[in-house]
């Protein structure tokens, strides 16, 4: 059994299916995350309440985190492996690149958008997940009594830095691009093809990718616009 499992892990199709399934978990998380994030637009209570809810049962949170970390590690490991194998499979490059116009930028840059997202995530965790949610970083300058605005304050403060916001926007665009191909691709990889629905899935994938990029971008844009047009106050 284990020998067979080992052999199966080595096959191209299985490797890609692991990428697809781990990617699917990521997609699920991201969609939830982008939806959760939108609560920021509704003020501190909404988002902080949401965050508290997530942290309410730590066991569940840790199980979820474990699954996410495992998925990410597997996803990254296999995508890098697969990418290296793919480069090796085309020993010599064409003088003129073969192309019939089916592949596109999103498809060709999966490894780059992916890697960027990976480093973004590391950075991102130090931004919001690890810091103290009641500390000085959560205090909005100029707010009454220097009170902590919790997670809300943390996010607000960090996006006041324009370069950081721009970096976030770049990163989430990469996520969007990654998913615009990733979502349709995963259906094909796990073997779902339907004469009618596949066209729709391809469309939905592009739309979702764009929505994810837009949805995430909304937060830093919102913070900056609010801050620099209405002043620092909430």
């Amino acid at each position: 059994m284990s020998a067979k499992f080992g052999t199966l892990l080595g096959t191209s199709v299985v490797k890609k299916q692991i990428v697809a399934l781990t990617g699917l978990i990521g997609v699920g998380f991201i969609i939830g995350h982008v939806a959760g994030n939108s609560l920021i637009l509704f003020g501190p209570e909404a988002i902080n309440g949401y965050s508290d809810m997530l942290h309410a049962v730590p066991e569940l949170l840790w199980i979820a985190r474990l699954i996410l970390v495992a998925s990410l590690v597997l996803h990254v490991y296999f995508t890098i492996l697969v990418t290296l194998e793919n480069r090796a499979a085309r020993v010599d490059r064409y003088a003129l690149q073969a192309n019939h116009g089916e592949t596109n930028w999103a498809k060709k840059t999966m490894i780059y958008t992916g890697l960027l997202v990976f480093f973004f995530i590391l950075f991102h965790l130090t931004d919001f997940t690890f810091p103290d949610k009641t500390g000085p970083d959560t205090v909005l300058t100029g707010s009454e009594g220097e009170a902590s605005y919790g997670l809300y304050g943390l996010v607000w403060n960090s996006f006041l830095s324009v370069p950081r916001s721009l970096f976030y926007i770049l990163a989430v665009c990469c996520v969007g691009l990654h998913l615009s191909h990733g979502i349709q691709s995963l259906f094909q990889t796990i073997g779902f093809f339907h004469d009618r629905y596949t066209e729709k899935i391809r469309l939905a994938s592009n739309v979702l990718g764009a929505l994810v990029a837009l949805g995430f971008s909304l937060v830093p844009i919102f913070v900056i616009l609010r801050h620099y047009t209405f002043g620092p106050d909430v």
Partner: protein
């Protein structure tokens, strides 16, 4: 109406796998626009031979788009710019007087180069040998009408079975993956009732052999389908992925 055109060809010349290759420039003069691409190469070759030079080696046989022998990457596209067309069925009227045409062989680790535009595609035969058949010995067959085959299944099998084994899918795939070729055969046999008993074994063995041959993985670029002279659909890749998933869980 046919006219005559002149072209500049940049052709990959390579004596054998051990010797490094390079591009050589030739002038193709007075090419009739009704000629096929291979006939254009014939004309160039004839003039090379008259000068005592070795002609450009390229595989070909039927010259009507069915044997799968021919193929080269023309201006960056496998089998050239026309959709669903083999190189032998590509006509010179698709080019304009004065064009420069770059001609390269299929480039893939799974297709080692033999000479000039000729590559070794025997990997495809080994993949078929790994499971691209139904085990029935001569004389064992039941009466043909004993098993009706629903028309949609029969049609799908036929769509997939049209693959001519030319290798353009590999040539065009950014990953030099052979998924389209392999999936065409797996699907052809796996959708038919006759192919059911060996369904699991077939997909596992053929994919394993494909990997052994050094082809890349499929990232769903769909360039293969666009380059395929027979319009083999990537739907077959999905079908093979599904069969493989089921086989690896159940088998």
């Amino acid at each position: 109406m046919s006219t005559k055109i002149n072209l500049t060809l940049k052709v990959w010349r390579q004596k054998n796998a051990q010797t490094p290759g390079h591009f050589e420039t030739y002038q193709a003069r007075d090419i009739d626009t009704d000629a096929s691409f291979l006939e254009m190469l014939d004309v160039v070759n004839a003039s090379l031979e008259r000068e005592g030079k070795e002609p450009i080696a390229f595989d070909h046989d039927c010259r009507e788009g069915i044997c799968g022998s021919c193929g080269a990457v023309v201006n960056g596209q496998a089998h050239g710019p026309e959709r669903e067309t083999t190189l032998c069925q590509l006509h010179m009227r698709k080019f304009r007087n004065g064009d420069t045409v770059t001609i390269e062989p299929w480039r893939a680790k799974g297709f080692p180069l033999i000479k000039d535009l000729v590559v070794d595609r025997s990997a495809f035969d080994r993949i078929i040998a790994a499971g691209g058949f139904i085990t029935v010995r001569t004389g064992q067959a039941p009466e043909a009408h004993a098993t009706p085959v629903p028309k949609d299944k029969a049609d799908w099998a036929m769509d997939a079975a049209q693959c001519i084994g030319c290798g353009a899918c590999v040539a065009a795939c950014p990953n030099a993956s052979a998924m389209l070729f392999v999936s065409a055969k797996v699907t052809h046999l796996n959708v038919l009732p006759q192919g059911q008993p060996e369904k699991t074994r077939r997909v596992l063995n053929m994919v394993a052999q494909m990997d052994k041959e050094g082809f890349g993985n499929c990232s769903n670029h769909y360039e293969c389908e666009a380059a395929c002279p027979k319009g083999i659909s990537v739907k077959n890749i999905a079908k093979m992925n599904r069969d493989h998933l089921v086989a690896s869980i159940a088998g």
